[in-house]
């Protein structure tokens, strides 16, 4: 049976919005209505009307009972805003098979955007490499989803990328608290990356880290004399791949553990996504993250 969430299959669909709808609606099909829907419209209290208030918010039922003007106030005045940061540095162009990391990241971002908009929250998409590039400013209109996809679709990896700087810059730019979802391979100085993430956390954002890595980066299946050529720099390494594999795997495990531990210590949700893994894994991670923060 065809796996509906297989990114390698989904990547063959040209329209990113269709991919997102397909995944999200397929993910929720047959389930009960989302328990998280409408959390931003929960009633909080009544407040006496004062000049200048929007008359559309007057509770006419309360006026009928008391002949005074009251306004209804909700627990959360505005919708949640999810900021989706997509790493577009050159390293995201790597693919050992058919699917590049950037494609996986873009599909994951689209799916998350659709899910957020479907829950009537706001979403913004920020692409970053050397600098931040605001692709879509916060919007809660479902109609804007196509804009999100159109903004994501043409993105191609370029630039050396500076993830820690991008994270710090994001933390400074985003004034309003929200959910920050960072989709990247995080192949950078892990200590600096963790500090950047902590910066976001300190700004009051809920942070979800989605680390996208290729299967070859996780298993290093090479052997024999191999010249590894850097994607972001001109550096290259010639070595007997089979004989450095064990050391590479050990160093990779240490790297991943450092990043994961840094996230856990800062109450940041962390997900390692292999580009061969299904996209619903990302959705589950997001929903679980939201559930914990609620």
């Amino acid at each position: 049976m065809t796996n509906l969430f297989d990114p390698r299959i989904l990547s063959k669909m040209e329209r990113l919005d269709l991919v997102a709808r397909f995944v999200v609606e397929g993910f929720f099909s047959g389930r009960h209505a989302s328990p998280y829907r409408g959390f931003s419209t929960d009633f909080s209290q009544h407040r006496q009307y004062s000049p200048g208030d929007d008359t559309r918010r007057i509770d006419w039922k309360a006026y009928g009972k008391t002949e005074r003007y009251y306004l209804r106030e909700y627990q959360q005045e505005t919708t949640l805003t999810a900021h989706i940061l997509v790493d577009t540095s050159k390293s995201m162009a790597y693919a050992s098979g058919q699917l590049r990391k950037i494609e996986y990241a873009k599909m994951a971002a689209a799916c998350l955007a659709y899910l957020v908009l479907d829950q009537q929250d706001s979403v913004s998409v920020i692409a970053f490499s050397d600098t931040l590039d605001l692709a879509i400013s916060p919007t809660s209109r479902m109609a804007a989803f196509s804009d999100v996809c159109e903004a994501l679709a043409p993105i191609e990896p370029e630039g050396a990328g500076d993830i820690p700087a991008a994270l710090h810059q994001t933390a400074q730019v985003l004034k309003r608290r929200g959910v920050v979802i960072v989709i990247s391979d995080f192949l950078s100085d892990v200590e600096a990356v963790v500090k950047g993430l902590q910066h976001l956390r300190f700004q009051g954002h809920d942070v979800l880290v989605v680390q996208v890595l290729d299967d070859a980066e996780l298993t290093f299946p090479f052997s024999g004399a191999t010249l590894f050529e850097g994607l972001e720099t001109n550096a290259s390494v010639l070595t007997d791949a089979a004989r450095v594999r064990a050391r590479y795997m050990a160093a990779l495990a240490a790297f991943l553990e450092t990043l994961r531990a840094g996230c856990v210590n800062s109450e940041i949700d962390y997900l390692l996504a292999d580009t061969r893994e299904n996209l619903d894994k990302v959705l589950v991670a997001y929903l679980l993250s939201r559930g914990k923060r609620r």
Binding site: S91, D214, E217, T226, L227, E229, A235, Y248, A251
Partner: protein, 672 residues
């Protein structure tokens, strides 16, 4: 250090192969775009030193493995580390070793091979040297000697004989000699020509009770394949068969006086002694003798058979056959000798002999079968003597008891044989009467030997064993038994070959008047064993014999053709022949004659006449050793004489290096 296979040192160049492969692999890599390059660089930089050391270690081990193998196949010898190699060396002295090639005689080549082997054994090597043909002899005894000069003297003193090759005797001597080195196991070298005719090789191997303990090397004295054009003339047996004497007698009883003469074609390889060719008609009712004298010993013959007319239907097919019958003896004995001779003959099994005393008169021109003569009286002279020797040359035999009282007649009779050696048998020596005196050591030995034989039957005494009693031999004779007199050594029993026949000359009279031989207890066994020996005496198929003209087809163009033989150069006259031209000559001495580039054997023992080399695999299978071709024996055999060969150690080192390399590869991967 020396190398037994120095040309294999080129193999050390292969030691560079691992380095070349390493360098080649460094230039041959695949490109992979990589995202985590900084991350990987850090890993590689941290591992670089270790990786380089690992590479160098593996490279060294691989190079060493190849180097060790290359050195091992070059077979290096560590000088000064090993003692000389003990050896038993047996030199073939059989008749075929007399064969001369363009560069010299095969026997001279063989002696050179022996010297090479001795020289290659190294310092301190102990050697037992033996010669062999039909028997093995130990000129230096069984005690091993390390004196090279003594060994070389013995080698130089060895001479070829007229005996046939018996590899069983050589192997038995090798086994016996090897025991003298125990617990060491000496290498055994048999230096021979290994020709096809040797019985052991023809029969797939000699009867052997004990193999030499050490390695056996079969050293060819020559790689030159010879020929004997006499062999080429062999014809298949055709319709020759044997019948019993009883059947023959029954057939003859039906004969009548009227006879018809029927032409018969006889395809025959040989007429064995004790048999006679006959003609048999298709109904097998009539058999008649064919005159043996009218037949050559081999080839296709047309003869005439005299068959009773009433038993012959005219269109009967007549076959030629050979039937067994009693040995036909013509006996001439003096009055004093007669009792002893006939007593001896009568003690033989019934039907063993058919004796006629009408000798020599009836023997002359007679058509009846006559296999041989027993002469114990005054020898015949004139035409009678010529007739006797003619029959002997044709394949008969003669037992001659010499009576010293009539020396001139005896000498004249022997001279009539035409055999140079036999003619001079009695020249210049005092004829010793055949009295066996207990004080004569040698005769005592013979006597004691015979006495120890509990059962004095025909089969209990072996003439060849008697021959071992006294090894000295006279050139040109087979001398199984000798006695030593104060005047020097003189043969007691001389065995000679005359033409295709054999002659036994007892230097003793068969009477009590002049000797005591006939009354000694070994008279009967020696007499019968001598008879048995003589009955085997027919020449090998295809042989030529002394005294008989040989005609060889040659191309036209010269009046004579040079013949190279044992007597020196001869000239064979060329004359027209039915099928072109033929060169004819009469050999006077046994040996190998070369005419027009081709070789023929004259009076050479059976098995020695075929000059073609036996197949190497056949020789190795038959004798159980390794054949070493003609050439540098010491090098090819790898005696290890000048030191210890370390090929095995080098191969072991190569295996260790490979094992270490595999272990390191595993460990490097396991603990990378």
């Amino acid at each position: 250090m020396t190398f037994l296979a120095p040309w294999m040192l080129f193999g050390t160049l292969f030691a560079s192969v691992p380095v070349l492969i390493h360098l080649y692999n460094r230039r041959r890599y695949r490109r992979v775009p990589w995202a985590a390059i900084a991350f990987l660089s850090e890993v590689v930089v941290r591992s670089a030193r270790r990786l380089r050391l690992e590479e160098i270690a593996l490279l060294i081990l691989r190079t060493l493995a190849v180097l060790f193998v290359a050195l091992a196949v070059s077979r290096p010898l560590l000088s000064g580390t090993g003692a000389g190699r003990d050896a038993v060396i047996l030199l073939d002295t059989s008749a075929s070793m007399r064969y001369r090639e363009a560069a010299g005689s095969v026997f001279d080549f063989a002696r050179a091979r022996v010297r090479e082997i001795v020289s290659g054994l190294g310092p301190g090597a102990r050697v037992v040297f033996a010669t062999f043909d039909s028997d093995a002899r130990l000129p230096l005894g069984l005690q091993p000697t390390a004196d090279v000069r003594v060994i070389f003297d013995a080698v130089d003193g060895a001479k070829p004989t007229w005996n046939a090759t018996d590899y069983s005797a050589a192997l038995a001597a090798a086994a016996t000699a090897s025991r003298g080195f125990a617990p060491a196991k000496p290498a055994v070298f048999i230096v021979s020509d290994f020709r096809r005719g040797a019985p052991a090789l023809e029969q797939g191997g000699p009867a052997r009770t004990e193999a030499p303990s050490g390695p056996l090397y079969l050293v060819r004295a020559t790689d030159a394949d010879g020929e004997n054009i006499g062999i080429d003339r062999l014809s298949p047996a055709g319709e020759v068969f044997t019948s019993s004497a009883g059947q023959l007698a029954a057939a003859l009883s039906n004969a009548t006086s009227r006879r018809v003469t029927v032409p018969v074609t006889l395809e025959i390889d040989n007429v064995p002694a004790g048999t006679t060719p006959v003609a048999v008609n298709a109904r097998a009712k009539v058999t008649a003798y064919i005159d043996a004298q009218a037949l050559r010993p081999s080839g296709s013959h047309r003869a005439e058979a005299s068959i009773p007319a009433d038993a012959y239907a005219g269109d009967d097919r007549v076959f030629a056959a050979v039937v067994r019958r009693p040995v036909a003896l013509w006996v001439s004995a003096s009055n004093e000798s007669t009792p002893f001779i006939f007593a001896a003959l009568s003690s033989a099994p019934p039907d063993a002999f058919s004796v006629s005393r009408d000798f020599p008169r009836a023997a002359i021109g007679g058509a009846s079968p006559c296999d041989g003569y027993v002469l114990a009286s005054r020898p015949p002279t004139g035409p009678a003597a010529e007739e006797v020797w003619s029959r002997i040359r044709a394949g008969g035999f003669l037992v001659f008891f010499v009576d010293g009282r009539d020396l001139p007649a005896t000498t004249a009779f022997l001279a009539a044989s035409g055999d140079q050696a036999l003619s001079k048998l009695l020249d210049g020596v005092h004829v010793v009467e055949g009295k066996f005196h207990p004080q004569l050591a040698a005769s005592h030995v013979v006597t004691e030997f015979i006495r120890k034989s509990a059962d004095l039957t025909l089969s209990s005494v072996d003439v060849s064993r008697i021959a071992d009693v006294r090894p000295p031999r006279q050139e040109g004779f087979e001398t199984p038994i000798v006695v030593e007199t104060p005047g020097g050594a003189l043969a007691f029993l001389v065995l000679a070959r005359v033409g295709r026949g054999r002659v036994a000359v007892f230097n003793a009279a068969a009477s009590r008047d002049t000797g005591n031989f006939v009354v000694t207890p070994f008279f009967l066994p020696v007499f019968f064993e001598t008879m048995a020996y003589l009955l085997e005496g027919a020449s090998a198929p295809g042989d030529y014999v002394c005294g008989e003209p040989i005609s060889i087809p040659v191309p036209a163009g010269a009046a004579s053709v040079d013949v190279d033989g044992p007597e020196g150069p001869l000239a064979a006259e060329v004359s027209p022949a039915p099928e072109g031209y033929a060169a004819a000559f009469t050999p006077a001495a046994p040996g190998f004659y070369t005419i027009a580039g081709r070789t023929i054997a004259v009076n050479v023992p059976p098995g020695e006449a075929d000059l073609r080399l036996a197949d190497t695999r056949l020789v190795e299978r038959a004798l159980g050793g390794a054949v070493i071709p003609d050439g540098d024996v010491a090098t090819k055999v790898g005696l290890g004489a000048r030191g210890m060969e370390i090929s095995g150690a080098l191969l072991a080192l190569a295996l260790v290096a490979l094992g270490l390399e595999m272990a390191l590869v595993y460990l490097f991967k396991r603990f990378a």
